[in-house]
Each structure stands twice: as structure tokens, then as C-alpha cells.
């Protein structure tokens, strides 16, 4: 009994994650109560709010107080902006919200980075200084969620602010997407919080189906590839050949996709079970024909957020510069996007590389139009997808590497030590990771209609079969775990 109580408390080394047994048990208990009250909006929201705050406490400990303070502050600021008559008062309140949100994000996420960058410049011989500041998990995501509300109230995209304090807190703390998105905008999620929801047979089917898909992607593909091949290479790339480093970059590409899109599937699935619809985050990203297209398919809610609240105002203010203004706005946006992912030069360079690739898309627009007229469109599309995929795989080396030195070693191994005659031996030595990688890429490239067909067949099954398949699938998938559940990659951000 004592064990049970202590496992319900915050344990710094064991944060509650969706792929843990404890979450599964807690969610089952919560859900049994939820389905008895979900018809009553007030009771449903109070239950969701309590569970969301408990969930966040279990993940992040006392950072739950920060979440409460930041949520409360934006609730009152939102009302203040709406009620202010003067434009200048509205602007001051907006500035206050930006200081509270971005100030907290900077303090918790970037203090050590700026401190050490400053020390590197002023006192290059001094050892790095690390202040003991714990990053509240999910802060990058809920700050963006809350800012979308304030910016929309300020720009009058939201005509009526949220008047119910608890409903606003629930929007910010909504447990399915608080840790790593999808970044729901207030104008999409708040109306759902305020209305009666229906948990239809279709929702339950979709929810179970997505949770199964997500668990499969996470456990069978992402974690397996990470533990058995990709992480080993990225931890000490100098010990591996150029060919292995190249394979690890292909592996990292699908691993990070499977990890994050698997996480997102689980989030959207859980939301469906609760009667909520959360925006999708992925749409076959490696089918992209150029990097601009990629960002319409990868982490869609983040790119939409950055497009709406950063790129659009920037490019609007630089519009007199035409194309140069657009390029400048893109580079700034992708620099910030890279930095948002983490206080590390690897992320900044990764973001910049995508900004530069999109600049190429703009500058080569006319040339590509001409090329399309000369080359057969199917061949043109295939070549475009092939080149874009290779750009993504090579740039993900920056994303995956712990520091610039590691990334440098991976690049130099691929450039100077690439020997394809090692392929056969590598496939023998890493036969299982190789097979998993192939399966993962095949599954990704399968037409969406196949996925929809399977999903629709599953939804139409009767209750008993649906539950049986779900339970069996989850048990089978978790058999694939070689060690304990691994955290999701995007929880670091």
C-alpha cells in the first residue's frame, strides 16, 4: 500500500509518460469516472482539470505551480486586453504577456546557454558554468499554446475572450497535449471545452486505432532502432565506418519521425477517447518534394504557429523588399525554430539549414517550373522526393548529434570514409535493425488509403473484438521492449 502511494507522488527520475504501465492504470481509472460524467460539461471539465494538473505534477513536480501561475496570468491579461478601450493599453498588456511567457521560457531553457556563450567570448579559458535550473517539461509547448490565445485576442481573431477561469486553465493544461503538442490553438480547443461532447463509436475506434499505431511506431520502430543501432553510432561515430554513419542518419530520420509521430498518434487517440479533436501533426513528411513542402507535412502545428505569429508579421513588415524581405523573414523564423528546439548550436544550425533550403526553393522556383515542362512529371517528382529526403537525412545529423563535434565526425566519416562494399557485412551484422528500418520506410510510403481502409475496418468491428484486438496489440507491442519504457524524443523540448 505504501508502495502504491509513493508511486503516485512525483518521482524526479521516473516522470509519468504515456508509454508507461502506471499511466495506463491511472488513465483507466480516470476514464471509468470520465465516461460517467462527460455529459455534464462542468463536471467533465473539473475532472479533466484535476487529472491534467495531477498528470503535470507527476511529470514535472513543483513546476505545476509555474503552469498555474502562467495560465492564470494569461487568463487575466486576455480579459484585460478585451476590456481595454485604448489601443496603447492593449499593446502594454500584450507586452506583459510576452514578457511573462517568453521570460519564463528563456529563464528555464536558455539561461545556461547564454551564460556560457558569454563566458566563452569574455573568458575562453574558464570551465563551463552550469546553474541548477530544472526545465519544466513541456514549457516550450504550453507557452506557445497560451501565446496563441493572447495574440488572437489582441488581433481580434478571437472575438470573445474566455471568461471561465477554470476552462482557460484546462485549455493550457489539457493533459493529452501539454507535454509535446500538437500545439492546439485556443480558437480550436476552447470551443470544444465549452461545449457538450459526444464519444461516438467512431471516436472510440479511431482512438484505439491511433493508440495502437502510436505504440507500434514508438516501441517497435523508434525505440528498437535507437537502442540497437542509431544511438550507438551517434554516441561514438568515430568507431563506425562512413557507410554505418550514413545508415545511422537514414535510421535517425525514420526513428525521430516514428518517435514523434507515434507520440502524436497516442495524443490524438487519447483526445478522441475523451471526445476531443486535436489537430494532426504529420502527413507523410518524406513524400515532400521540397523543404517548403516538408514543413507542410512535419510538425504541422508548430509550422502553422510560426507561420501565423512570426513569419507573417515579419514578412509583412519587410514586404517592400519583396523576395529579399521574404528570405530574411524565413531565415529569422527558422533560426528561432531551431533555437526553440533546444539551447544548442546543433539545433540552431539545423533550423538555419532548413531556412537556407527554403531560400533555395524560392530562388529556384522559375527554374524548377521550366524543368517540370521538360522532364516527365513522375520522374521529376521521384527525383524531387529523393533529393529532399537526402537533404532531410543529412540535416537530421545536426538534430540528432549531442554537439557540433559529434555532428562534424558523422559528416566527415560520410564524406571521407564511404565504402559501399561494407553494405553486405553491415546488413548481416545489423540484420534486425535493417529489416525494421525497411519496414518503417515501407509503412511510411504506403498510400494513405491503405491506412484509412484498415482504420475503417477496425472502427466497424463490434465492441468485444475491438477491445480484444486493442489489448492483444498493446501486449504484443510491449513484448518488443528490450528494456524499460524510453521517454519520447520531443519531451526534451
Amino acid at each position: 500500500m505504501e508502495n502504491l502511494f509513493s508511486s503516485l507522488k512525483y518521482l524526479p527520475n521516473q516522470p509519468l509518460i504515456f508509454n508507461s504501465v502506471l499511466f495506463f492504470l491511472l488513465f483507466t481509472v480516470f476514464y471509468l469516472i470520465y465516461i460517467t460524467v462527460f455529459n455534464k460539461i462542468k463536471a467533465r471539465n473539473i475532472l479533466l482539470l484535476i487529472f491534467s494538473f495531477y498528470f503535470y505534477y507527476k511529470v514535472s513536480g513543483l513546476a505545476v505551480i509555474l503552469l498555474l501561475l502562467m495560465g492564470s496570468s494569461d487568463y487575466f491579461i486576455g480579459l484585460g486586453i478585451f476590456k481595454s478601450k485604448k489601443q496603447s493599453s492593449k499593446a502594454w498588456l500584450l507586452l506583459l504577456s510576452l514578457i511573462v511567457n517568453l521570460g519564463s521560457l528563456f529563464y528555464f531553457k536558455y539561461t545556461n546557454f547564454f551564460l556560457n556563450t558569454w563566458l566563452d567570448i569574455t573568458q575562453p579559458t574558464q570551465a563551463p558554468l552550469v546553474l541548477n535550473i530544472l526545465l519544466p517539461i513541456g514549457i516550450s509547448f504550453y507557452v506557445f499554446k497560451s501565446l496563441s490565445y493572447i495574440l488572437d485576442v489582441y488581433r481580434e481573431v478571437i472575438e470573445e475572450p474566455e471568461r471561465n477561469y477554470f476552462n482557460y486553465l484546462l485549455y493550457v493544461a489539457f493533459f493529452p497535449n501539454i507535454l509535446a503538442g500538437p500545439i492546439s490553438k485556443a480558437r480550436d480547443l476552447l470551443p470544444q471545452i465549452n461545449q457538450k461532447l459526444f464519444i461516438t463509436n467512431e471516436f472510440i475506434g479511431k482512438g484505439f486505432f491511433l493508440i495502437m499505431c502510436g505504440a507500434f511506431k514508438k516501441v517497435v520502430i523508434a525505440d528498437f532502432l535507437a537502442v540497437n543501432f542509431v544511438d550507438r553510432v551517434f554516441q561514438s561515430p568515430h568507431l563506425f565506418s562512413g557507410f554505418e554513419n550514413l545508415m545511422a542518419s537514414y535510421g535517425a530520420t525514420i526513428q525521430i519521425y516514428a518517435d514523434f509521430s507515434g507520440y502524436t498518434d497516442i495524443v490524438i487517440g487519447i483526445a478522441f477517447l475523451l471526445g476531443f479533436v486535436v489537430d494532426p501533426n504529420f502527413n507523410k513528411p518524406f513524400m515532400a518534394k521540397n523543404v517548403t513542402d516538408f514543413w507542410r507535412r512535419w510538425h504541422i502545428t508548430l509550422s502553422k504557429w510560426l507561420n501565423e505569429y512570426l513569419y507573417t508579421p515579419l514578412s509583412f513588415s519587410f514586404r517592400k523588399l519583396r523576395r529579399i524581405g521574404i528570405i530574411l523573414s524565413l531565415i529569422i523564423t527558422f533560426f528561432i525554430s531551431g533555437f526553440w528546439h533546444g539551447p544548442n548550436w546543433t539545433y540552431i544550425l539545423w533550423g538555419l539549414s532548413h531556412g537556407i533550403a527554403m531560400t533555395y526553393d524560392i530562388l529556384s522556383d522559375r527554374f524548377r517550373d521550366k524543368l517540370k515542362k521538360i522532364i516527365n512529371i513522375k520522374i521529376y517528382n521521384f527525383i524531387s522526393i529523393f533529393i529532399t529526403f537526402h537533404f532531410l537525412s543529412l540535416s537530421i545529423i545536426l538534430f540528432k548529434s549531442a554537439d557540433l563535434n559529434t555532428a562534424g565526425v558523422v559528416y566527415s566519416k560520410i564524406l571521407n570514409n564511404l565504402d559501399f562494399s561494407l553494405a553486405k557485412e553491415w546488413m548481416k551484422l545489423y540484420s534486425l535493425p535493417f529489416i525494421v528500418m525497411i519496414i518503417a520506410y515501407v509503412l511510411h510510403y504506403l498510400p494513405m488509403s491503405w491506412n484509412n481502409f484498415l482504420s475503417n475496418r477496425y472502427i466497424k468491428l463490434n465492441w468485444a473484438f475491438k477491445t480484444l484486438i486493442f489489448v492483444l496489440a498493446v501486449i504484443l507491442i510491449y513484448q518488443a521492449y528490450s528494456s524499460e519504457a524510453m521517454p519520447f524524443v520531443y519531451l526534451e523540448f
Partner: protein, 80 residues
């Protein structure tokens, strides 16, 4: 007035999207023009400003959901 604006907008749209066939109509949105994305949108706005000798505000840009909204805002600016 609206017809005049549409006629003038046709010229701007043809110039920006490099399509001499393009014809604008009030219900038209970015989904109806292949090359109309967040990148060409800014160029389009800047060209409209130049051709009509007006200046948009960011709020107006956000509120524009289709060409009809754009015509209405241009009309308001030209009347004032």
C-alpha cells in the same frame, strides 16, 4: 467601383502569378490558385499596395479570408 477594382486586381494577379488567364472573383481563395502560398501572398499584398497606392495594416491582412474581403478593404481605403 467594385468592377474597377476587380479589373485592376486581375492585372496585379496576372503579374504576380505569371498567369495571363487568371481572373479574380470575390469568393476566390488561395486554394484556387496553384502558386498562391504564404510566400507569394506577401508579394501579392505588396504589389496591390503599389498598384492601388494604398497601405494595409497587419490586422487587415489577417482578416482577409478571400478576394472579396480584399476588394472590400481596398474600396474602404479608396473612399477615405
Amino acid at each position: 467601383m467594385e468592377t474597377e477594382i476587380i479589373e485592376k486586381l486581375n492585372i496585379t494577379f496576372r503579374k504576380v502569378f505569371k498567369d495571363p488567364e487568371i481572373k479574380v472573383y470575390p469568393e476566390m481563395t488561395a486554394n484556387d490558385v496553384e502558386k498562391w502560398d504564404s510566400i507569394t501572398h506577401v508579394i501579392l499584398i505588396a504589389e496591390i499596395e503599389k498598384d492601388f497606392n494604398i497601405k494595409f495594416k497587419l490586422k487587415e491582412l489577417i482578416a482577409m479570408k478571400n478576394v472579396g474581403d480584399c476588394i472590400r478593404i481596398i474600396n474602404e481605403k479608396l473612399e477615405n
